[in-house]
């Protein structure tokens, strides 16, 4: 087994309103950001997974995203990255320690 860190993005589906993104967008010109157009707010979730290989780790990530992280009625999710953690099998993760 090896350790992987997955980066999952959860974002509103196209067509679903994103008031937070729209509000930030409207505030930008007054802050001098006049070249910035559409802003969309989503979540970036980093997850550490024990798996035999990257493909297996990604599979866990997809299942986690669909079952827990995103509400499929209004959100899409995507695995943005998956990287092997160095010698992680033994190293205990730091903050947010598992119970």
């Amino acid at each position: 087994m090896a350790s992987f860190e997955l980066l999952v993005e959860v974002r509103r589906r196209e067509g679903i309103a994103d008031p937070e993104g729209a509000t930030v967008q409207r505030a930008l010109p007054a802050l001098g950001f006049d070249t910035v157009g559409r802003v969309r707010m989503g979540r970036a979730i980093r997850v550490e997974v024990e798996a035999p290989d990257e493909a297996a780790a990604r599979a866990v990530g997809v299942s986690l995203a669909n079952r827990l992280l995103a509400n499929p009625v209004m959100e899409d999710s995507e695995i943005l990255a998956c990287r092997a953690l160095p010698g992680a099998a033994d190293a205990a993760p730091g903050a947010g320690e598992p119970r």
């Binding site: 937070e20 509000t23 930030v24 505030a27 802050l31 707010m41």
Partner: protein, 245 residues
Amino acid sequence: MTATVGVVVFPGSNCEHDVVSGIERAGGHARLLWHQDPDLGDVDAVVLPGGFAHGDYLRAGALARFAPVMAAVTDFAAAGGPVVGICNGFQVLTEAGLLPGALQKNRGLRFVCATVPVEVSSTTTVLTELAGQGQVLALPVNHFVGSYTCDRRTLDELRAEERVVVRYVENPNGSLDDIAGICNPGRNVVGLMPHPERASDPLLGSVDGLVLLRSLLHAAAGAGAGAGAGAGPLLSAHDQPPISL
């Protein structure tokens, strides 16, 4: 002479009228200021009230700190004027760099509306000078993003300089060191999560907030008399200055 308190209204603020009524019950005058105002006019103190300025979108206070009025508030604070941020106002003050640290979502990830005991930890600030050291006040808290956090160095400094102004007796949100409110080094800028204005009328159960509002009026009357002459405002080295527009 009764002091006049300017109460800043951002779009999304919702406690502004409550603060005005609390100030009046404490014997002062209050006037609403608009977030687009470039100056504060003739006020002796400023309150940033509770609510959800700019919807609290992105982060509580993140957009509000760029409002034109905040440049004026910063100048006013720098000249020693009393500035108090209540709840959302506290969040705005930290985002603006007028107070150190930040406010995070509550432990438990739920909004908390309750009246809780709060202890006065310092009586040398514009909000507490008429209160007793160690006095316990029953004050309403009402927030989702009220858990105070800062780095170790800042915390040490806050403690060493007795800049923790009020502490929770029963911590409702996971705040670091039970912090309910802090002040700047000049002790004229105070931010706190509890709402003194909600405890200013016997019909609502507690009048414990009045001592805080009276302190503010007292300080405001003093500051009005000797504006600028008072203790110099000290922005500590790591307080980032707000970006003025």
